[in-house]
């Protein structure tokens, strides 16, 4: 770290450094792009984990978390602008592919325009939306933006901002679809998009030429809602993001708040949380496999997978009282004591799971049709996975050995022995098989812990009123889809100044266009299914 400070400081004297959780660099916009290029090329920070829009009251800006894909080292860069009327920042889309979609999100919420981003349209909100909702001075009066029943205009062009030699910025029109393109609209109401995702697809015969992604059909503004609530009140929202990883998501938020307050979680709660996380992961992979196979026409698989899923839901329900939105993790530990039959139930599950996985492989994985439809379809290379920030099973299927449970261990994970599943092919089959093998690993983790749940408290003593000190924290966990992050910026009050949920599915959606180009339109379903995105997690 000191090395970075020395070398960067020499070349960019205007950069200021601070050491928090990670090394923090504050850079003026003028040298932001050059700094990013240097960090990328020379220090190997080739993975943009998060790009978070911010409104600090006076200034608007972004906070970036950059990760070295080999050493898993993380640094934080802060860029801001004082101009609230016409805020411009430089884009890093040419360095990090995922920045394209992240910057569009920031533009949509804060109105910051990025110079050099090829596509500066709104992402989540209607294109006739008035104002930028995440700004602190946004007018929330419902009369400004009433519920409109007329359809918005779909545009075939977009705008990009270009800076010429003498520093003047001007807008340029860019064409997304030419008039002669044959564009098929898929979604938002389509059974195979796994939710309300809209893809405008240009095809030539059966081949996909380009996909234009439309998000926001389930954008609920959770992050903005959190700014008006206390910390314990915000936890239940994340259950409703990626509802198949509900417990893992809330684990993340709780850990982030605990880290900020310096609360030590009792060992019993730590182990319970990890067991719950792994049950949740199996649940998530089962449903992913089931619905994906149904999309390919193998309806039987859905029923088989859901059979085991119901067993898991039974276990979770007996302890938490709910089937899907659990509200089980609280700041400091977990809400209730385990059900008296928890251990026996889990052991019964561990017994049936290996047989069930064998059965799935027999029904589906070895099937000729499945092989023909999945092998070599939608191949993602390792470099692209890093570039597009594809984590989770989809990223590991390309060979990128990144798992938050290993890279930045949390909870009881340092105590358990498990294998990080990686494959090298990077195609749909690899992604599917990675999930199957991960379920086995999850069983392995649970088996190691289930007999060794320590006795003691299930929740640490926490103050009645939870107040975070001034500062910012970023915590990541590994959900069934990838690295889920929670970012909190606090000004020292009972509610967050900014809370951001950095979802893995958002990046998965961002890679669809890249993955499907040149593939057949029928393979869009295969690719989408194996990426396994959850749309409410994309839109938040």
């Amino acid at each position: 770290m000191a090395n970075i400070q020395e070398i960067v400081g020499k070349q960019f004297p205007e950069v200021t450094f601070a050491q928090g959780e990670t090394l923090e660099l504050t850079v003026p916009d003028a040298s932001w792009h050059a700094l990013a290029a240097k960090l990328h090329k020379e220090f190997g920070f080739d993975n943009l984990r998060a790009l978070i829009g911010m409104d600090w009251g006076e200034e608007l800006g972004i906070v970036c978390y950059l990760v070295n894909s080999r050493t898993y080292e993380m640094i934080r860069v802060k860029v801001s602008t004082a101009n609230r009327e016409e805020p411009f920042l430089h884009s890093i889309t040419d360095l990090y592919a995922v920045a394209g979609i992240y910057e569009r999100e920031v533009y949509d919420f804060y109105g910051i325009k990025f110079i050099g981003n090829p596509d500066m349209r709104r992402l989540f909100l209607r294109n006739d939306w008035v104002g930028f909702p995440f700004r602190k001075d946004y007018d929330t009066n419902p009369e400004v933006n009433p519920v409109r029943l007329d359809h918005e205009e779909t545009e075939d062009t977009t705008v990009t901002y270009v800076e010429d030699a003498d520093g003047k910025i001007h807008a340029e029109e860019r064409v997304i679809f030419k008039p002669e393109d044959f564009v098929v609209n898929i979604g938002p109401q389509h059974p195979a998009t796994h939710g309300v995702l809209r893809l405008r697809t240009a095809v030539e015969g059966e081949e996909i030429k380009k996909i234009d992604l439309y998000l926001g059909y389930i954008h609920r503004g959770i992050e903005k809602l959190c700014e008006g609530l206390t910390y314990p009140q915000t936890i239940h929202f994340v259950d409703r993001l990626d509802y198949l990883g509900a417990l893992i998501n809330s684990h993340c938020v709780c850990m982030c708040v605990e880290k900020a307050m310096g609360i030590e979680v009792p060992p019993r709660a730590k182990v319970i949380r990890v067991i719950m996380d792994e049950l949740m992961r199996i649940n998530s992979h089962l449903l992913a496999a089931g619905t994906f196979c149904m999309d390919l026409g193998a309806t039987t698989m859905l029923f088989y997978a859901l059979r085991e899923r119901e067993t898991i839901l039974n276990i979770l329900e007996r302890t938490t009282g709910a089937r899907m939105t659990f509200n089980y993790n609280v700041i400091g530990g977990v809400r209730q004591e385990l059900d008296e039959n928890f251990v026996t139930d889990v052991k019964a599950l561990l017994e049936i799971m290996p047989k069930a996985i064998k059965e799935y492989n027999k029904i589906f994985t070895g099937n000729v049709i499945a092989n023909n439809r999945m092998n070599g379809v939608g191949v993602l290379s390792e470099d692209d996975a890093v570039d597009y920030n594809i984590t989770g099973p989809s990223g590991r299927a390309t060979g990128w050995n990144y798992d938050v449970r290993r890279a930045h261990p949390y909870g009881a994970y340092p105590e358990v022995d498990f294998e990080v599943i990686t494959r090298t092919e990077g195609d749909s089959m690899a992604r599917f098989k990675a999930r199957m093998s991960e379920m086995e690993q999850s069983c392995k983790i649970i088996a190691q812990l289930i007999d060794k749940i320590p006795e003691g408290e299930i929740c640490a003593k926490v103050p009645k009123i939870i107040k975070l000190p001034e500062g910012h924290w970023f915590q990541e966990v590994e959900t069934g889809k990838g690295a889920f992050g929670c970012y909190i910026e606090s000004t020292g009050t009972t509610s967050p100044w900014r809370m951001k949920f950095n979802s893995p599915c958002f990046c998965l959606a961002g890679v669809i266009d890249h993955l499907t180009r040149g593939q057949k339109i029928a393979d869009l379903i295969t690719i989408g299914g194996t990426l396994d995105y959850i749309v409410p997690d994309i839109d938040r």
């Binding site: 989540f124 109401q189 926001g216 389930i218 859901l306």
Partner: protein
């Protein structure tokens, strides 16, 4: 007259008052014997084969999948034919949050459903906006944009609750006059008149 569905005793329903008031309305004007018998036959058929539209935006949709799977098995009641096209469906389970961008799409899907059509608002989001009520981008209940027949509370409702909701719907279908438009059609027309789509060109 006791209106119920198969294998559900009349006393087991929690809210028989509303169905009784509907029956009273049905009886008020009297009807022709032939038309009445035809109504009965048609309603019997329709109430036992309600086809849902596969429409889900979030968590409630996953519970709807569970409803279709082996444990809850909605095929027992004749609802398993979930259609992906609104043209072939009888009712719409609005499962999940409806947001501003989605609102026109929901309305269009509703308009595309073939008559007679029904709506079940599933989950607190579809009923009132639920936990996201204060959001700038969430519609405070799908009842603001399309007429709703049955509300099914929960976050998300358990599959059992969904079964109860669809059973309520099938009960409502039974007290409808297919030829006369009593009980439902009038309200629907009125609703659509009060909620016009602005700048509709076609």
């Amino acid at each position: 007259m006791e209106i119920t569905t198969k294998s559900m005793p009349y006393e087991a329903w929690k809210d028989n008052e509303y169905i009784e008031s509907m029956i009273a309305e049905l009886k008020a004007n009297g009807t022709n014997v032939i038309v009445g018998s035809l109504d009965k036959l048609i309603n019997w058929g329709r109430s036992n084969s309600l086809w849902p539209l596969t429409f889900a935006t979030s968590c409630c949709g996953i519970e709807f999948i569970s409803l279709g799977a082996a444990r809850y098995d909605m095929a027992r009641f004749g609802w398993e034919v979930a259609r992906s096209s609104p043209r072939q469906a009888d009712f719409m389970m609005v499962a999940g949050t409806i947001v501003h961008r989605m609102a026109p799409v929901v309305r269009r899907l509703y308009d595309q459903l073939a008559e007679p059509k029904y709506v079940i608002a599933t989950g607190s989001c579809a009923i009132s906006g639920g936990p996201f009520k204060n959001s700038y981008h969430v519609v405070k209940g799908v009842g603001e944009i399309i007429p709703v027949d049955v509300y099914c509370p929960g976050c998300p409702p358990r599959p059992e609750a969904m079964i109860y909701a669809i059973m309520q719907l099938s009960r409502k279908v039974k007290v409808e006059k297919f030829f006369g438009g009593v009980n439902r059609k009038e309200n629907q027309k009125e609703f659509l008149k009060n909620h016009p789509i602005e700048s509709m060109t076609d």
